[in-house]
Symmetry: C2
Subunit: 106 residues, 2 copies
């Protein structure tokens, strides 16, 4: 029985506790973990303040971390499909995202 993840990739979702965005952050985390399972080492929920909603990917293999979303720059919240495609392209390029890919190519 092994319970060690194969990947060291880490996604960190920093969310504003004052704005009550924990549930949104936890939803995004579950979407990513449902799709990528152990292709991600972990998804961290990071409580913050001041209106923050930020999604960062550290590939965990020496490559630079990637800022996938920052509310302060882009405004609003990330859509799940482009978030999944960006993570897939970085840490699991062989993984098909099914309809998420088909939607992107149509």
């Amino acid at each position: 029985m092994t319970d060690e993840p194969t990947s060291q990739a880490r996604v960190a979702i920093t969310y504003c506790t004052q704005c009550r965005w924990l549930m949104r952050a936890a939803w995004v985390a579950q979407e990513l973990l449902t799709t990528f399972r152990t292709r991600l080492g972990e998804v961290a929920l990071v409580p913050g303040t001041g209106g923050v909603f930020r999604v960062e990917l550290d590939p965990g293999d020496g490559r630079e971390p990637v800022l996938l979303w920052d509310r302060a720059e882009q405004g609003g919240f990330p859509e799940i499909p482009p978030l999944k495609r960006a993570i897939r392209d970085t840490v699991a390029p062989d993984l098909s995202l099914g309809h998420t890919d088909r939607a992107a190519s149509s």
Copy 2:
């Protein structure tokens, strides 16, 4: 505007993807983050395999990490109140847990 958490304490919840325990792990994470907010630096969801369900606390201040629950040792899943009390006693001893404390002392 500051979005840096004040605490460096980290809770890691390792769960079995084969057993579909992501939702349980995400539920525990949201319970802890709702109670402790920025008194925790982060709660990480860590996908694993082989029936794992483990909750670890790293106080993030030089003290040794604490194993709060390990299904392999205790069997079953942790109850939220004792989990919150153990975390409070370690990283936020001044924090009242309200009815969780009253239930423990009755």
